[in-house]
């Protein structure tokens, strides 16, 4: 346990050094980087993803995954747009969008926690199915001209220079930090992620925890979908494609183990800042799109290998060791 903590701490240390390096590089190469408006834009351009990354950290630490988030974003937005087109009062449309997220999340959670299907399979079908539904609702049309307050919420600052979504992100970050790092519920998330059988026999209500996580994930994804709709001023069936991969990337780079049980939100926050600042810096330096993808890709490979390579090697080592001992014992027995 102590060693694991140490390794994590050092991974976060590496992330922090990387972040500082990127910030210094950006600040020294492009004069617009440190502009206050740019610092806001840097978050705002990817705000939906980083909000979803918070709940995704919970889910992956819980040894599950939710790759349907991008499609839930689109479906929630399309449900809202569909009802808005039909003349339903806008407040109800927003509510319907959020409810869509809760329902998809409840379905995912039910299939995982009660039917005991693998979350990768369940949410993969969600990834395809929810996106399909979104396209059925709006076909290839885009719906826009939402009430002005909605567009303004997505596009203009709310308090001082800070837009609504950014404020929400920081509030959710604090709530997530308290729950995951300091509360009993947070400990359950880790315990289940480490070994759900052990957790169950110790009296943890594994099903309820998983169900709750997936419902929250659905609601958060739907909320993010509505935020994106407000930011872009219109909704189409194809928004948010590929969000799941970028979000999972942020979480894994933050040192959360894809096998569950390990990780911290501090690491995820650092990785979010790294990816946002890297993207922003490259954008302001007019780095061509392919090269940006290449740099982010390289970072991802590192991120997946970095935190996991140590574990992989040590596991392989111990397996070999066990095999050898067994062979030795059999030889003795024979």
């Amino acid at each position: 346990m102590l060693r694991r903590l140490e390794r994590l701490r050092s991974w976060e240390g590496i992330l922090l050094v990387l972040l500082i390096g990127i910030v210094i590089f950006n600040a020294s190469t492009t004069p617009h980087y440190l502009l206050f408006q740019n610092q806001i834009n840097l978050f705002q351009l990817h705000i939906e993803k980083i909000i979803i990354a918070l709940i995704m950290a919970f889910i992956i630490i819980n040894a599950e995954i939710d790759i349907s988030v991008g499609s839930v974003m689109a479906l929630a937005g399309c449900v809202m747009g569909y009802f808005f087109e039909k003349g339903v009062p806008f407040g109800l449309c927003v509510l319907a969008g959020l409810l869509t997220g809760a329902l998809t999340g409840a379905f995912n959670g039910f299939m995982v926690a009660y039917v005991r299907m693998t979350s990768l399979i369940v949410t993969l079908s969600g990834l395809i199915g929810y996106r399909g539904l979104a396209h059925v609702l709006l076909e290839n049309r885009s719906v826009g001209n939402f009430p002005e307050w909605f567009d303004r919420l997505g596009q203009k600052p709310l308090i001082g220079p800070f837009p609504f979504a950014l404020i929400v992100f920081f509030i959710l970050l604090i709530i997530a930090l308290i729950i995951l790092q300091r509360s009993g519920a947070g400990r359950y998330v880790f315990v289940i992620g480490n070994n759900s059988e052990v957790a169950r026999y110790s009296g943890v209500n594994v099903r309820r925890v998983k169900m709750t996580l997936f419902i929250v994930s659905g609601i958060v994804a739907a909320f993010a979908g509505l935020l994106l709709t407000a930011r872009l001023g219109s909704i189409r069936g194809d928004i948010g494609i590929g969000t799941e991969l970028e979000v999972i990337t942020m979480v894994l780079l933050g040192g959360v183990s894809i096998f569950g049980g390990t990780g911290s939100l501090y690491g995820v926050l650092l990785s979010i800042l790294i990816i946002l600042n890297l993207r922003n810096g490259m954008g302001l330096l007019n780095v061509p799109g392919e090269n940006q993808t290449g740099v982010i890709g390289a970072l991802l490979i590192l991120s997946v290998l970095g935190p996991n390579i140590g574990r992989g090697v040590s596991e392989a080592w111990s397996r070999r060791h066990v095999q050898r001992t067994r062979v030795g014992e059999e030889e003795k027995g024979g």
Binding site: I20, L35, Q39, N41, G154, R236, G242, P288, E290
Partner: protein, 346 residues
Amino acid sequence: MFKKLMMLAVISMLLLSACAPAAPKPEELKMVFLPKFLGNAVFDEAHAGALAAAKELGVTAELQFLAPATGGEGAKQVEIITNATTQGVNAIMLSNNAGDQVAPAAKAARDAGITFVTWDSPIPSAEGEQVFVAQVDFSETGKVMADMARNILGDDGGKFAVLSAGPDSANQNAWIDALKETLKDPAYSNLELLDVVYGNDETEKSTQEALALVDKYPEMELIMAPTTVGIAAAAKAMQDEGLCDKVKVSGLGLPAEMVSFVKNGCSPEFALWSFYDLGYLTYYLTYRLATGEIQAVDGAQFESGKMGTFTITADPTRPDVPGALRVLMGPFSQYNASNIDAAVNP
């Protein structure tokens, strides 16, 4: 924390310097040329045209050529527009690949005093867009395709199929509708459209769809592909399968990609507008607007180098969008064995 401290330390200084952007000299205009995505030959041609115009106009500031890496990332154009606005560029030239989703970013750019022109593909709501430079009149595309089909199939006509881009591609759908409309004319009664299939502008899928058409319709004599990816894929498939004597390929293609198929008879004739000219004209218009020589209003005329004089008009293809303006480039260029070499090596 470190970031915050550094931010605070430098921010006031920078805010001061960013406050009053002086009107730039014409030769120092910073412009961004933003196509739908990178790695497509037609957008590289448009870029070359824009660079030529920049040279003629004596603009020495580097023209930024920025775009998402692939066609599936249309929404990333929003990020590029926002970053360009942060950088305080003077003008943005966009081939829109994200529908109305770019409108808020485009409006923000306009609010920051940036000249905003679209080309190839407009912002449907025209919000944030000053003028759209249209390549051709979309309704003309249908007649051009029908005429090419008649030229290739001969006076006795024949049966053909359409291999399009994606089922949701707005341009292609409009052109196919225009083609169907044209075919209703008795003059084209001996042409029969068998089917419309979609290759999603992917070479592999387009090839499969083209070969599937051959299997499905033995009587088919022509594949009409209104997309540069589809026409090249179909022509190559017919060539590789030795089917060129039986099934010809035509549509909208890029001369450089089609030259060998014209020469070996697989694709005797095809059409396209010049993307080089489109980039050239777009740059001239944007320059005139950014320098304040003309205003983006109905009836404004401007001179566009070797291409002559053009007029800004209300956009007839967006009648329900008040204030939508366009410049129509036109016309089509049709290519066959007689002129393909000149088109490839000007």
